[in-house]
């Protein structure tokens, strides 16, 4: 645990972006940045790793399409075959692919549903957003119009504060961790 944490508060996202760049150039680790809205390019200047959400989306989509296909197959071909408007007739032994055009909307919806819901759930779990969880933001103004850079101080506190001042922070706060 570091001795203390410094919070640099900014008024503008452009200033925030340049200051993040400047701080990282000076080999100082930024613990977290809190913003009221997603800032374009922030992940790039922070040097965050690419999100793996795309991979999970693909996997969840595959789960969805499999689920949909097996559901349709069970309902329409095994459990209760029906003759609907004389379409390739399931009751007289037509195969799954004969009816594929009619099944595509269902498969599509199942894919979207599984991908969207499971991705949301994954996102919540990764961010620790379960019901009743407390906000981790050190300053409630970051939900309104302020941008905040959180830095854990290891040794050279003065250098960090100078840097934050130089890059245009409108306000700098400190929290001493050893008190707690």
């Amino acid at each position: 645990m570091s001795k203390s944490t410094v919070y640099g508060i900014y008024d503008d996202e452009e200033v925030l972006l340049t200051s993040v760049k400047e701080i990282r150039k000076n080999d100082i680790d930024i613990k977290e940045v809190y913003t009221p809205f997603p800032v374009h390019g922030l992940d790039k200047v922070l040097g965050l790793k690419d999100t793996r959400m795309g991979i999970t989306a693909f996997i969840y989509g595959c789960i969805g399409v499999t689920l949909g296909a097996s559901m349709i197959y069970y309902i329409m071909h095994i459990d209760w075959p029906m003759n609907i408007g004389g379409k390739p007739n399931v009751t007289s032994g037509s195969y799954f692919y004969h009816n594929l055009p009619a099944y595509i909307p269902i498969l599509f919806e199942c894919t979207v549903m599984c991908a969207a819901h499971l991705m949301s759930i994954t996102y919540f779990i990764r961010c620790g957003l379960y019901p009743g969880s407390q906000s981790k933001s050190p300053d409630p103004r970051t939900t309104d119009d302020k941008f905040l850079i959180e830095i854990d101080v290891e040794s050279d506190k003065k250098k960090i504060i100078d840097l934050l001042n130089k890059t245009g922070a409108s306000e700098i706060n400190e929290k001493n961790n050893s008190d707690e």
Binding site: H40, G41, K44, P101, I104, P105
Partner: protein, 514 residues
């Protein structure tokens, strides 16, 4: 400042010459030994009366056509006809006599029927029907290839106008550094627009039979040639809209309106470069908004007029969107291709990976939108299985000439971009983008052929030399005119309020490679 290279110019010129020569040659060819419906009828009467009058033996004219009716029909004939021939028209004839008649007719009228077709003929009426189809197809073939190629390039050039308008009304900034490209593409619009009008007027003058509803007698109950009555109840029901004069006026309105907006948007952008100020930008937004309203209606109605009315009996409520999605897909693809070409030649230094990535996203997205509308139309018609709707797909799927092209064009303009452009890095990989773009353009080109040919040529259409050469001619003209127009103005825009934002675009999530 971009300068068109001599090599590209020469290639374009050669392609234009190939296209022009082949289309002129095939139109000339199609008018040789050409007979109208009435001439076919009269020639057959002559042949039958001269050498095959034996079929009239034992023919009781009165028993087939009661005297009053025959006199009635007889009095309304436009040309020469023969009561005995009319009576014998629907008589089932011996194969030997029929073959002899066909042979005699073939030597004087220079037609060629396939063996399969000859076998299916059993009466003079059916022979006449086959000959009418043969001569109509022969006459329409070069015009069909002209129409679908022109429609394809009209789509690309009108979509460039829509693209610019879309950027203005959404106040988008990313596209400003490539704004000159759609502005150059739209300079092809007057040529394709006027060609479309030429095709429409040619249809009205019966120079081709692509639009069946324009044919003589389809809405006239009293019109007949022999026992053949071209009257069509369904087309008569649509005659308020499918009226030749109204059709030509509508076509003129679309083309003139589109060209007006295209020129206005372009000139606003160019004067903004010279004078600066926010005034031109605000004016452009207003013009774009009006254009989008105008285009929303006209793009839909134009697609009904020029494409959907070819299959006169058929209609589809999603057709306008389907055509729009196709125009969007090929429009974005063309803009992307030109951007990549200019980039490879060392121009457009402000275009970075983020711009290419954005264009790639549009190409990817609209390939999927196109597939979506394609499938909506297909699935609903397949599912409801109503004869008058399904006829559209049976004309494409039950005919050997088209079946392969139908699935092939759909698959390569859907599956290929879906797989190859799915990941973000692939949307900035220039080689892959060029490959996919060219394949998409070919897929949509084949698809536009299938929108037109089965309706105008029935089962006789196929992608042959005429179609490809006409396509190459259009490609040549497109390259020549668009790149000439690119050379006339500086590639870099000035004074646009969002120019700096566009230059500093960094939306691409991965590291820039340059």
């Amino acid at each position: 400042m971009f300068k068109i290279t001599n090599r590209l110019k020469n290639i374009a010129k050669i392609l234009m010459i190939i296209g022009f020569v082949s289309i002129c040659f095939s139109i000339f060819n199609s008018t040789q030994n050409q007979y109208t419906d009435l001439e076919i009828h009269e020639n057959l009467i002559e042949i039958v009366n001269k050498d095959f009058s034996s079929i009239y033996n034992n023919l009781n004219v009165d028993s087939i056509y009661p005297a009053k009716d025959t006199a009635d029909i007889f009095s309304k004939q436009a040309g020469r006809t023969d009561l005995r021939y009319m009576a014998a028209s629907k008589l089932k004839l011996d194969t030997s006599i029929l073959n002899a008649i066909i042979d005699t007719a073939e030597s004087s009228m220079h037609f060629h029927l396939k063996n399969k077709e000859i076998k299916s003929i059993s009466s003079l009426y059916e022979l006449e029907k086959k000959l009418r189809k043969f001569y109509h197809t022969k006459l329409s073939k070069p015009w069909t290839s002209l129409l679908f190629n022109n429609y394809f390039f009209l789509g690309i050039s009108i979509f460039a106008v829509f693209f610019i308008a879309l950027q203005y009304v959404s106040e988008a900034a990313w596209s400003i550094v490539i704004k000159r490209i759609p502005e150059a593409v739209l300079s092809f619009l007057p040529y394709t627009g006027i060609m479309m009008l030429v095709i429409a007027v040619a249809g009205a003058l019966h120079w081709h039979h692509i639009y069946h509803w324009m044919a003589e007698g389809v809405i006239d109950q009293t019109y007949s040639i022999g026992v053949y009555k071209p009257y069509d109840k369904i087309i008569d029901g649509k005659s308020a809209f499918l009226d030749v004069t109204f059709f030509l006026i509508r076509s003129l309105i679309y083309v003139v309106g589109w060209i007006y907006f295209a020129r206005k948007l372009k000139s606003l952008s160019l004067t903004e470069d010279l004078n600066g100020g926010i005034n031109y930008y605000n004016k452009s937004i207003k013009t774009s908004a009006w254009f989008i309203v105008f285009f929303a209606v006209t793009s839909s109605v134009a697609s009904w007029d020029w494409i959907m009315s070819i299959d006169s009996h058929w209609f589809s409520t999603i057709f306008g969107w389907f055509i729009f999605a196709e125009w969007a897909a090929i429009g974005f693809t063309t803009i992307l291709l030109i951007t990549l070409y200019l980039k490879s030649q060392g121009y457009l230094k402000y275009v970075n990976n983020s711009h290419i990535h954005d264009l790639g996203k549009w190409v990817f997205a609209f390939s999927l939108v196109w597939t979506y509308t394609w499938f909506c139309q297909y699935m609903l018609i397949w599912y409801s299985n109503i004869p008058e709707e399904v006829a559209y797909y049976t004309a494409r799927l039950e005919v050997d000439n088209y079946r392969f092209l139908f699935w092939f064009s759909m698959l390569i303009s859907f599956i290929l971009p879906l797989i190859l452009l799915m990941s973000a890095p692939s949307k900035t990989n220039h080689k892959r983008l060029i490959f996919v773009s060219i394949v998409i353009l070919i897929g949509h080109w084949l698809n536009s052929y299938l929108l037109v040919a089965p309706g105008s040529l029935n089962t006789h259409g196929n992608i042959g030399w005429t179609e490809i050469a006409t396509g190459l001619g259009f490609v040549g003209a497109f390259i020549y005119i668009v790149f000439q127009s690119l050379s006339k103005v500086p590639l870099e825009t000035k004074n646009h309020p969002y120019l700096d934002e566009s230059k500093n675009l960094h939306s691409y999530p991965h590291e820039d490679s340059h």
